[in-house]
Amino acid sequence: MSKNLNIHVEHVTRVEGHGNILVNAKDGKVEKVQWQVPEAPRFFEAMVRGRSYEDIQTIVSRICGICSITHSLASTKAVENALGLEVSEQADKVRVLMHYSEQLQSHVLHVGYLAAPDFFGAPSVVPLVAKAKDVVLAVIRLHRLANEWSDLIAGRTTHPVTLIPGGLTKTPTEKQFRELQEKLKNSMADLTAVAEAVLSVAGNIPDFTRKTEYVSLKQDTPPTYTFYHGDITSDQYDGTVKINDWKTVANEYVNDQSTAKWTKWHMDSYAVGALARFNNNAELLCDPAKGVAKLFGLEKGNCNPFMNTVAQIVESVHVVQESIKLIDELLTKGLKTETVKSSPKAGKASGCVEAPRGILFHEYEFDKNGNCVAADICIPTNQNHANIQKDFEKFVPEIIDEGEDAVRLKLEMLVRSYDPCISCSTHMLDVQFV
């Protein structure tokens, strides 16, 4: 097999800009390997300047059409921290439920439509239907469930409308919660089917490891596999960092090969996402989720980025099980109608939650009238870019003998395993009549 490689994968219309893969190798020696991300500016941090604290989540939820609930939650938490607003126990739990809906939605979409085709040897989900129709149908049912779940609690699937600083505008009724709980219990069959389908082709998951720092939230009080509360930690750090000090973790910097910033903490790069959360908190998963991890041989300390997809399957089971319990907690205590009030004041603070793809930071500063004077947002995919580059640098020499097509495919699979969400583009149909 030739040891000369000249790969330049240029992606058009995908996400908001290009994610390019560049590999040059001669006589088995890698001369250049780059993950290039020309992320065009979105201007959200400028858009929110001058806007009231009450408008922030409505605007920044538009950053993404898949993680919109996550952006809304992170920004609302930041606003509440800046203005010193307390949230009731009930509202807090309902928000966690809201957040879980998006984890399930995003994870099943990634596993089913992006990662699974790779493992089944299909170029996309279209031919996958012929190979595994029942699995695709299960993914669609889970997607529907997650979206209906989001509709119920967030007000709609995308761009939530029930979140306001200090609480929620509306809480589902007991009847609605019970109906949701029943659907969640019934969804385990589909989740199991998806897990078993991926397990059947797990031998196709590339065997690649690289020592990596994994960054995520950690919650000790009470000990929780957290997506919503807690402080920042990594598997390279004994302790946690307060959310307001997130910049001491991200350490964003500009580099020549990408308009997207890179990040680093204790190593040259770090990874965020499901595998990061697993590596920091796996012992806190519910038993069914632990069972799924065991099926795949996924253990704490795993440094194979391709296993991020397996970690997503594990987390999907976890959030469904935890949501069933959370609904019981809410209804045992009894739902109350809550009135939320807030008033403007000056303040500056950060908010942080785990997006499906990793830890997300929002920071805002407000003047005494409650108008935003500054904003800073650091998304999870940005935090993964440097790590993808480092993975490329180690991976390419290991697979260089496999030929150009195989190397190209495996590098694309590697990027896909991170479940990138560089930004969400609006679009129109581009039509050619035949």
Partner: protein, 138 residues
Amino acid sequence: MSDEGIGVILVNRLSGLSDKYPFVDFVDGGTGGMNLLYLFEGREKAVIIDCANMEEEPGQIKKFSPDEIKSVKQLAHQSLHEQDLLKIIEIAKQLDQCPEEIVIFGIQPKDIELDQTLSSELTQKIDDYLSLICAELN
């Protein structure tokens, strides 16, 4: 994105007519194309309305079926943000979940720059668009 939002604007206006069309669900399909798969399930007909580059005069509305067009979109399959409506329809057919009839209304934009308002070319034709779409719903 100025005229790119015409689909959302029209579906919001149509939602106000839900009493007149009790058997129709008006849905903002958003940017997550895979949402359409379960929205299609169990439906007899789907009417899709979107901004479309058809190389027509700005404001022009055209009605067509999926069979009358081909996709020029190249997908890298790396992100859930990239979708192709025609591929979604193809998947739905393979899953036996595709409506028997799909009608697409494309509206040629004048402007897709960063702006919260439609261009005048589209604004002045909104009632015409609604009439055509309602005729399809009838």
